[in-house]
Symmetry: C2
Subunit: 226 residues, 2 copies
Amino acid sequence: MARSGAAVRKPSGQQKKARGRVSSYHHGALREALLEAAEAVLLEHGVEGFTLRECARRARVSHGAPAHHFGDVRGLLSEFTAVSFERLDALMSAYRARSAADAYAQFAATGLAYVDFALANRPRFQLMFRSDRLDFGNERLAAASTRTYRQLADTVTAMLPPRARTRVPVEGIALAWSLAHGLSTLMLDNRLFAELVGGNAGHAHTLMQDLLERARPLFEDSGQQR
Amino acid sequence: MARSGAAVRKPSGQQKKARGRVSSYHHGALREALLEAAEAVLLEHGVEGFTLRECARRARVSHGAPAHHFGDVRGLLSEFTAVSFERLDALMSAYRARSAADAYAQFAATGLAYVDFALANRPRFQLMFRSDRLDFGNERLAAASTRTYRQLADTVTAMLPPRARTRVPVEGIALAWSLAHGLSTLMLDNRLFAELVGGNAGHAHTLMQDLLERARPLFEDSGQQR
DNA sequence: ACGCATAACTTGACAGTGTCTAGTTTAGCG
DNA sequence: CGCTAAACTAGACACTGTCAAGTTATGCGT
C-alpha cells in the first residue's frame, strides 16, 4: 500500500490512476492523506490546537476539500479515533499473546497495554475520550470502541470461577478500567501526578504493574456479592 | 459617537458604589459577574463550547472588557478553576468532618468527595484537568490545586503505621487518585462506562464506596516495599 | 474642592476558524 | 466518445480571541 508517509512533494506516481501527472486536480488518496495530516497536526499542536484547515494545508488541498470525505470536523476526528480504538484493541491482543495463559496474566496484559498506549500516543488517547469532538453515531467508531471495551471486560470476567461467569462483574470491570484510565489520564495531563510517579512512560508502566499485582486478590473473588 | 440613546437599559442598581445611577460606564463588579457568566456558559455549552465573548455578552459588557481583569481566556478559566479546586478541597474537608476519625474513614471520605464533586460539577471538573486551557503559573490556581492534592495524599499517608509515615506512599496515592479520577472521568465522558455502572451520580457514589471498601487492605499496608 | 492620572470599559480591526454554496475539473462508465 | 457524478476549488459568512486606540469616570493627592 502507498503507506510510505510524508507525501509532501507528490513524488509523481502516487495517485491511483494518473501516473504521469505531476499535479492533478484530484488528489487520489485524500482520505488517507488527511488522516495522516491529522496525526501530524495533533502531535504538533495538541488536541486543542487541532484545525481542519491546517490538515487541508498539509495535504496540499483547499480548505473545503475535507468536507467531501468526512462531512465535518467531528467526522474526521471520529474516523481518526476509530483507528485509535482499533489500534488499542490490537495492542491489547498483542500483549496478551506474549503473556502467560492464566487469567490474571491475560488481564494484566490488557491493563498494561492500556497504559502504554496512552503514554505513547498522547493526543490520540486524549481524543478517544473527548466526546464533544466525536460522533459515536459513527459506526466504525462505535464498533471499535465497543470491541475494545469488550476485550477488557472479558479478561476481567475470565478471572471469575467458571460458574460465576454468567453475571457481569461490574465492580471488577469498573475497578480495572478506572485504574488504568485514571493512571493514564493523570499521567498525561496532571503535573503533580506525573511528578509523583516520576514522569516518563517507563515509570507509569512499572507502577501499573505494581498496582495490578497488589490488586490481584480483589479481582479473583470479584463477582460474588459482598 | 452617533449613539442617541446613551442610556441603554441597564438593570438599575447593581454596582457596589454608584447606587443611584441607572446606568454606569463602570460595571462595578465585573470580575465576579464574568466568573458567574463563565459558569453559566459552561453549563449550557460545555467546555468545548465555552466562549469569552459569550461571557462578556451575559455580563452585558463589551467583548474587550474581560481582558482588563483576566488578560486572556486562559486567565479567566484559570481563575475560575482555582475556585473549583478550592471548592473540591472544601468538600473533602466537609466529608471528612462528617466521617469517623479513623484513618480509613477519613481517606474514604476524600475519595467519595472527589467522585461526588466530579459528578455534580461536570464542566467544572473537566476543566480542572484540561491543562491546555489553564495556566498553572497562575498562583491562586497552583496553590489551590497543590493544597487539594496534599489533602488527598495526606489521608493516604495517615493510613500507614506511624513509623512508616516519613516516606511518601507513592503507590498508595497513585492507586487512590487513579481510582477516583478514572471513575469520575469515565462516568462523565464515556457512554459505555456510564451504562455499565448505571448512569447517575448515586450509582457512582455507591460504586466508589464498594471499591474503596474492597481495596481497603491494599492501602493499609501501602508503603512497605513489596 | 478640584485636577488629573489611571483604571475600567468601548469600539473597531485583524487573522484565523468551521461550514455553506456555487463553480470547475476530471474520472470512469455506458 | 460523451456525460454524469464525484472530487476538488474559491469565495463568503458568522464567529472566535487578541490587540490597539479611544472614551468615561473614579478616587487620590494636593
